[in-house]
């Protein structure tokens, strides 16, 4: 009989693949309407922050830099990233709307910085965000 992996397991593996790719620092899925975090990896979630008792800042610097735990889990606060990205996507959406009219929308956002690259795929209901290292240039 045919037996396929269940859809959610498949999805899990896709996400795991993505977050384990070399160079990928963190992934984040947020709801497009509310900005609620659906899933994240490589980012500090609220619980972890509570557990740690230290809140790293959003810009990627970590407060207790010597803390190996923080390093491993990621250096950014998931909520901060979610908020910033969500706002960015919203304003990008407004920009597109005013530029190209109602019937257009942003499909892919790539932001290259000196340090890394942010790739955002906006979809009808969710946003997928991946932050990854870029080759040193």
């Amino acid at each position: 009989m045919m037996q396929q992996p269940s859809p959610s397991a498949e999805t899990e593996s896709l996400l795991a693949r993505l977050s384990q790719r070399p160079g990928v620092q963190s992934t984040l899925i947020i709801s497009r309407d509310t900005g609620a975090i659906v899933r994240s990896s490589g980012l500090l979630t609220a619980e972890e922050i509570e557990a740690d008792g230290a809140a790293p800042t959003a810009n990627g610097t970590y407060l207790n830099g010597t803390d190996g735990e923080v390093k491993k889990k990621g250096t950014r606060n998931a909520e901060d990233v979610a908020r910033l990205v969500w706002n960015f996507v919203r304003s990008a959406g407004n920009m597109i709307e005013e530029l190209n009219g109602e019937h257009d929308e942003a499909k892919l956002l790539r932001i290259r910085t000196k340090k890394n690259e942010l790739v955002v795929v906006p979809d009808a209901k969710f946003l997928l965000v991946v932050i990854h290292d870029t080759p040193p240039a």
Partner: protein
């Protein structure tokens, strides 16, 4: 106006003035508040709604008053003297009054509209005492902030009054005027400063307000109302979410796989230049006959490891897409037996689509006229049709499949060969199974074959004993009605799809191409692009360790004798190899170039113009060497390559696949692939091949 009445009126008015002094004071206070609001907040949007109406009504009332005063006042200079100081600082007023006394009243009116003037407004009190407060009241409430301006406004008043004095000109001494100028200017400056300050304050306040709002908004959504576990489950298991992940992760991986760094700064990099040199050396050193591996696609665990590759095809529309058909997994029996992956050269490590079938897939093909359709032939005899547009492609089920029944409704034996013939609007799918059944199908309906043909051995004597078991088939470029089929018996047979004059549909008994002493593994007609017609050439490969080049007889040829003896055609060229040759394919763009793969796991590219005995280039997939089936031993293990296929557009890419289930894509140098760009023009190359054919043919 009669002069007799003037005196009585004067008295009357004086009395009234006295009475009004009190009222005036109160009103002035209010007016001051109001006018300061009006002037300073005049630009604030909220006020803008109220002010036009208001100013209109005041204007009107002022006009009324003006007319009234006109009638009364020509000789009322003295009276006005008693009036002016009433709300003002007496000292300043006095000085202003001295010069202005005689003329002050008439000009006042002129200034009324220009600036809200407390002095004139005091006149308004005569008629509009009740009206104006009612109107101003709401505004006063709204702008409770509209601040302490008593100093400023006093001075402002004076300034205006003095302005009046000035306006009627010449009676004053220059010294006083200068002083007035000075004080005026000072006052104006002061006023301006205060206005500025107020404006700033208000703006700051507004900003703070809006900031508060936005912060509030943020706070409503962020820190994101973190979803409860149940909610999270509901979201992550929703179809929307699964689809989204499927789509978006693909996009992101493509984005990340993009090797070229768009921000590359060549001015700053020395390292990449060296790499380029190396590449260039490769190119020049081997005269554009280089073969370079550019991608390889392996199976992942969820798909089931230890599958063999049974077929490969490049998409005709999207040169970066190729599909790979696999047999069943030896490692994980629970995965679907038939697997067809569509790989993207820009998406490493995972297939663009993963399609399933209920039985081992043995052949696959992109539909040449419908880029989203993919065909696959299975071991059980089913022809499956997938559509990448199908909404639930996540399940990988085919959208159509042929029935599994035998009889005349389809195949019941493995389908090793597939072809699509015809044109954009009228095409049919030709399938051949190993029991010698050939069917033609319409893409729209796979429930019943359009044509059904059983193949029989060409010699009636061997009719019962010799099967015709096609393993591969190939159509000549220009003729959809006949094709060649390579058989397990080693013969290559011409097969006509339709009855024609003097012969039945099926195997053409008059001609056969006999040279392979073992099953024919592959057969490929020349694609025949170019000026010279090379379309009658074909190559074949067989398990007898050889590659053969043939020239096909024209289908209408009647070179056979009446006795029915068949003509046996010999190959133009025989190339002996050291291993089983599993597949051979012409380059779609270079007339004399073809590629072959063999049991030793080597991809060889041949250029018949350069050599008819040795390949001009060879390569093996880098992933080889690991022993898939645990055979062990030095040089052991299975590395055989089963299939080779060229990219159809420009012919720069060659994909190979074999027993280890790894699809490897090579890029060939400019002499072996690509359109033009070689050392010779394709016409000349074709001519060279034609000459070669002529030479061999005469032998």
């Amino acid at each position: 106006m009669s002069s007799s009445s003037v005196a009585s009126r004067k008295d009357e008015i004086l009395a009234k003035k006295a009475k009004l002094a009190e009222l005036k004071r109160q009103r002035e206070l209010r007016q001051r508040e109001f006018s300061s609001n009006r002037q300073i907040l005049g630009d604030a949007s909220e006020l803008a709604q109220a002010s036009p109406l208001r100013s209109r009504s005041t204007q009107q009332s002022r006009e009324d008053i003006d007319s009234l005063i006109d009638s009364i006042l020509p000789d009322q200079q003295a009276a006005s003297g008693s009036r002016t100081p009433s709300g003002k600082s007496p000292a300043k007023r006095a000085s202003a009054f001295e010069q202005a006394q005689d003329v002050v009243d008439t000009p006042v009116r002129k200034y009324q509209d220009a600036v809200t003037d407390t002095q004139t407004l005091s006149f308004a009190a005569l008629t509009t005492v009740y009206e104006i407060p009612v109107e101003t009241k709401p505004e006063v409430i709204t702008y409770s902030k509209g601040v302490q301006t008593s100093e400023a406004w006093q001075s402002g008043d004076d300034g205006v009054v003095e302005g009046e004095g000035e306006a009627d000109g010449g009676t004053r001494s220059p010294g006083r005027r200068r002083r007035r100028y000075l004080s005026e200017r000072e006052r104006e400056l002061e006023e301006e400063a205060i206005r500025q300050r107020l404006r700033q304050e208000i703006e700051e306040e507004l900003r703070a307000l809006s900031l508060d709002e936005s912060v509030d908004k943020d706070k409503e959504r962020f820190p994101a109302r973190s979803l409860a576990p149940e909610e999270l489950n509901a979201v992550t298991s929703s179809n929307d979410f699964l689809d989204f992940i499927e789509r978006s992760s693909k996009v992101i991986e493509r984005a990340l796989d993009e090797e070229y760094d768009v921000l590359a700064d060549y001015a700053q990099q020395a390292r990449s230049a060296e790499d380029d040199d190396e590449d260039a050396a490769n190119y020049t050193g081997r005269k554009g006959r280089r073969i370079k591996e550019i991608a390889s696609f392996d199976l992942t665990d969820p798909m089931g490891k230890k599958r063999m590759i049974s077929a490969l095809d490049f998409s005709p529309k999207f040169p970066e897409l190729l599909c790979t058909a696999y047999t069943k997994s030896q490692a994980s029996p629970h995965t679907p037996p038939g697997l067809l992956n569509i790989w993207n050269l820009h998406l490493k490590g995972r297939p663009e689509y993963s399609l399933h079938a209920t039985s081992d897939l043995l052949s696959c093909l992109f539909h040449p006229h419908h880029p989203s359709l993919i065909l696959g032939g299975t071991y059980s005899g089913q022809l499956c049709l997938w559509d990448t547009r199908a909404r639930h492609h996540r399940t990988g089920e085919p959208v159509q499949r042929t029935p599994l029944t035998g009889g005349r409704t389809g195949h019941a034996h493995p389908i090793y060969s597939l072809a699509v013939v015809g044109t954009q609007n009228a095409s049919s799918i030709i399938t051949a199974s190993t029991d010698g059944v050939v069917c033609a199908w319409s893409t729209d309906m796979l429930t019943l074959p359009q044509e059904y043909l059983e193949l029989h051995a060409p010699l009636p004597a061997a009719y019962k004993t010799d099967d015709v078991a096609p393993t591969c088939l190939s159509f000549p470029a220009g003729d959809p009605t006949m094709f060649l089929a390579g058989t397990e018996q080693g013969a290559i047979l011409p097969i006509h799809r339709y009855d024609r004059a003097g012969a039945k549909a099926g195997v053409d008994t008059r001609t056969s191409y006999l040279a392979h002493m073992a099953p024919v593994t592959a057969l490929d007609f020349h694609p025949s692009r170019g000026k010279l017609d090379l379309g009658d050439l074909f190559v074949s490969s067989g398990m007898d360790w050889s590659i053969k080049l043939w020239r096909a007889n024209p289908p209408s040829s009647t070179s056979t004798t009446i006795s029915g003896q068949q003509e046996i055609v010999r190959p133009l060229l025989e190339i002996q190899r050291e291993d089983t040759v599993y597949d051979v394919r012409w380059s779609p763009t270079k007339p004399a170039v073809f590629a072959s793969v063999d049991g030793g796991g080597v991809l060889e590219v041949w250029d018949l113009n350069a050599s008819t005995e040795v390949p001009v280039a060879a390569a093996r997939p880098s992933c080889q060497g690991k022993d898939v089936f645990g055979g062990g031993g030095a040089g052991g293990g299975v590395r055989s390559l089963n299939k080779v296929v060229w990219e159809k557009g420009v012919g720069r890419h060659v994909a190979v696949g074999g027993l280890d289930g790894v699809t490897t894509v090579f890029e060939v140098g400019g002499e072996l692939g690509g359109v033009g760009g070689g050392t010779t023009k394709s016409g000349e190359v074709g001519a060279g091949l034609r000459k070669l054919v002529g030479r061999q043919g005469r032998r």
